[in-house]
Amino acid sequence: MLESLDLNGLYRDLVGIHLGRKADAVTRLYQHFRPLLFKKLRYQYQAIQETDLQDVIQEAFVKIYNTKSYPKDAASMSAWVFRVCENACLDLLRKAYRKHEMEWPEWPIDSEAPSAEVELQASAGLQEAGVDSDQPVSRPLTPLNRAVEFCVSSGMSLFSSQYPERALAISLAMDGLSMSAIALTLDRTEAATRQFIYESKKKLAPFIQHCLEQLR
């Protein structure tokens, strides 16, 4: 996705004086960066309406069109676009929150392993679906066994609300994105991102392990 971008050409058009080419460059940037930005913000601010978020992202790219400060070279452009857009989005969202006098949602701070309460809630999901977690589920399973899926969903939704950035990292990895694209989205180095994804999966395991055991 991002790898296919001709960054040098885009950079030339973006910093050039030809306004038509600049508009084209911003449109191409929007086309390529929007999905990742949207996904990141969607995971981060789950309470915000999808259409509002789309609107905010468009506004952020309009800001990119109007900006007079550019990245120093083509190589640093992807990170620059991400940073500028993310900051613009956050500013716009903050304004919207202030306008509606809502409490600003922060990234939840990573805590240690899930509490007993979390595990209890996840187990309750399994029981609610009529599955006894001590009893193995017979195989073969349907593509997504409904009871297990329900249990997994409960655990995952708890995990997502508790660790939105980690949930995003796992989701991006599941999408099959390149490590460089995930690293760009998470604003980390590739090595740190690889480690972060691994640790995120380890953190996720206690939330859903008891559900997935039914598959074994």
Partner: protein
């Protein structure tokens, strides 16, 4: 880092997770690429922005042009208004005095004499019919006399030049300071 991502979950568990995230993304409206409709909407928005910027730039350019035009008109009209006044303050000869004054530095001649009054009267006599204007400022027995304009090659002014002891090619304004010797 040596661990592999798939160390934590087995293949089937990974499949479940992937499936969950796909459903979640669908539910949250997360799409893997930007649709044509979204692109068209953004293009429209960008066009509106460009039009807005262009109109703003146009109004700014218009304002600057108007300002420059007004300034230029002011300059031109001031020339027409000012010129008759300048002509009126100028002098005796058709030659521009101010031009001669502007192109030549002022010359000062200091003379000590027992009879400043007689000296002044004689100087005035010499400047008569020589196209020179004499201004005398008196302070006690001292006098400051301004004689102008000495013009290049004007033979009528030679006597005055000789009397003042200035070079034959002196032009412009000559200031003569007359004073009495101290007792």
């Amino acid at each position: 880092m040596t661990q592999k991502d798939d160390d934590v979950f087995n293949q089937e568990e990974e499949r479940y997770l992937k499936s969950y995230y796909q459903k979640l993304d669908q539910q949250w409206g997360v799409d893997p690429s930007t649709s044509e409709a979204q692109l068209a909407q953004f293009r429209e928005r960008l066009n509106q922005e460009r039009t807005k910027n262009a109109s703003w730039r146009f109004s700014w350019k218009f304002f600057m042009t108007a300002l420059l035009a007004a300034f230029s008109m002011g300059l031109l009209s001031s020339r027409w208004i000012m010129v008759p006044e300048l002509v009126a303050t100028r002098g005796i000869e058709p030659t521009s005095h101010s031009e001669v004054s502007a192109n030549s530095p002022p010359k000062i001649v200091s003379i000590t004499t027992l009879e400043p009054k007689a000296y002044t009267e004689h100087l005035i006599d010499l400047t008569k019919d020589a196209g020179l204007e004499v201004t005398v400022i008196t302070s006690g027995q001292n006098r400051q006399i301004s004689v102008k304009p000495f013009l290049k090659g004007d033979a009528r002014q030679d006597k005055a030049r000789e009397f003042l002891g200035i070079d034959a090619d002196t032009i412009g304004v000559v200031t003569v300071i007359l004073s009495q010797p101290s007792p």
